[in-house]
């Protein structure tokens, strides 16, 4: 009897309190009934090892208790692909954030390369564990509130990309979205990149007023570009939307680039350098920015033309445009 009581107590500890007594009473009756049946067959009481074997047939207390619980998984098979895709985006986002931070710290002489890499890996691991926990918790809740059943029920074959459409890979698309989110956070001052505002080897770089004046337009452009990347990735068949966003963001970017370019000076170099040295660095930095603006403008125009060409030569463009 002692063995049975210990076994039942071990099960009861792992059961919901409101059901434990009822469940345990039923298992107790089963064990006692089986014990009596065997004792009747043998014509004598069961020995301790025989009773132990009889209890063992029922199963480990942990297993028995777990069978009375519903939903014994965190993420079900339907939600798992979405869970994995989200984890990928988060992983890329974190990797980019820490890589950029490490690179800027090395570039501006804060730390040597090895230390920067080691610190970045350590921070990445810690953040990845926290992110994994948060994403898992979110999906745990979503799983139990109808997602992805609702989402899977609403999908339409018509929204799938054309066979001949060139799609960015999942990793590529996730990378673009992650980088987009990262730059928005950086622009809002929520993540540290790059650290050129701080004093580095006697050198300070101060952004000129043009950046503050254009803060909101640049922010709006980044958000629009992020929306474009998300649409391109998740809704490739929304060709009209893709076309509008591609043209609008490129046009907006070119207007902004023009305004920035016309400022003629973008960063002011100062610090404890000699006056002549600071002026040389200032000239070099702004010359670099000058050519970077021209190059970026050319690349954006080229990408926009490519996107428009792809969309207008696609078979489904005409009916979608007319729809």
């Amino acid at each position: 009897m002692d063995l049975i009581d210990r076994y039942l107590a071990a099960i009861a500890r792992r059961l919901p309190a409101d059901k434990a007594d009822d469940i345990v009473a039923e298992i107790r009756d089963d064990l006692l009934t089986r014990q009596e049946a065997r004792e009747d067959a043998l014509g004598r009481p069961l020995k301790k090892d025989e009773l132990s074997a009889l209890i063992k047939e029922m199963g480990h207390p942990l297993v028995i208790a777990s069978r009375y619980r519903s939903g014994q998984y965190l993420i079900g098979p339907d939600a798992f692909p979405f869970f994995l895709a989200t984890l990928r985006i988060v992983a890329i986002f974190l990797a980019v954030a820490f890589a950029v931070t490490a690179a800027s710290r090395v570039a501006f002489g804060h730390v040597d390369v090895i230390r920067a890499v080691m610190q970045a890996i350590g921070n990445l691991m810690n953040s990845a564990m926290v992110a994994l926990g948060i994403v898992t918790a979110i999906f745990y809740v979503l799983e139990r509130t109808g997602f992805p059943a609702d989402h899977l029920a609403k999908w339409r074959p018509q929204d799938l990309p054309e066979v001949k459409d060139k799609q960015p890979s999942t990793w590529g698309a996730a990378f673009e979205v992650a980088v987009g989110i990262y730059f928005i956070l950086w622009w809002c001052g929520l993540v540290p990149f790059p650290g050129y505002y701080s004093n580095v080897k006697g050198l300070t770089l101060t952004p000129d007023p043009i950046w503050a004046a254009l803060w909101w337009p640049v922010f709006a452009l980044m958000v629009a570009r992020l929306a474009y990347n998300i649409v391109q990735w998740l809704r490739p068949r929304w060709k009209v939307m893709r076309g509008i966003l591609a043209v609008a963001t490129t046009a907006g970017a070119l207007v902004l680039l023009n305004a920035i370019y016309r400022a003629g000076h973008w960063l002011t170099v100062g610090g404890t350098l000699g006056h002549g040295d600071a002026a040389d660095v200032d000239r070099s930095v702004n010359m670099g920015i000058h050519w970077a603006i021209i190059a970026i403008g050319a690349i954006w125009v080229w990408q926009c033309l490519q996107e428009l060409w792809t969309l207008t030569t696609s078979r489904s463009w005409a009916p979608r445009l007319m729809a």
Binding site: I23, A25, E26, I27, D29, D30, L32, T33, R34, A37, E57, M58, G59, V63, I64, R67, Y68, S70
Partner: protein
């Protein structure tokens, strides 16, 4: 090439899992408690894991297919189970499904006989 024992065992367990529910519902057209239910299943040639029967009965009851009550018998209180009205209808529907599947599989594998 024959599959290994592990693979076969997994397939066998998968195959039996659904049919055990049908067997339990079928056996509970007559009122029984856990021990006698398992005995009737074993007598019919269907073994069920000792620790799996009671959670299965609870699940079927929570789904409204079974009703149960505690009653004294042989000087001990026991929980007796039997089919509910919904359970009876569901059993009939499941048996039709079972027979249809069985006939389909027989048609598909006739040439292997």
């Amino acid at each position: 090439m024959p599959v290994d024992d592990d693979t076969f065992e997994k397939l066998r367990v998968e195959l039996r899992r659904g049919s055990l529910v049908l067997a339990v519902l079928g056996a509970l057209r007559e009122e029984r408690y856990g021990y006698t239910l398992r005995q009737s299943l074993e007598d019919a040639g269907l073994m069920i894991d000792e620790g799996a029967l009671y959670p299965l009965l609870r699940r079927l009851e929570s789904q409204g297919l079974l009703i149960s009550e505690w009653r004294e018998e042989a000087k001990r209180t026991k929980r007796f189970y039997r089919l509910s009205v919904d359970g009876t209808d569901t059993l009939a529907a499941l048996l039709r499904e079972w027979n249809a599947i069985s006939e389909s599989i027989l048609r598909l594998t006739e040439k292997d006989k």
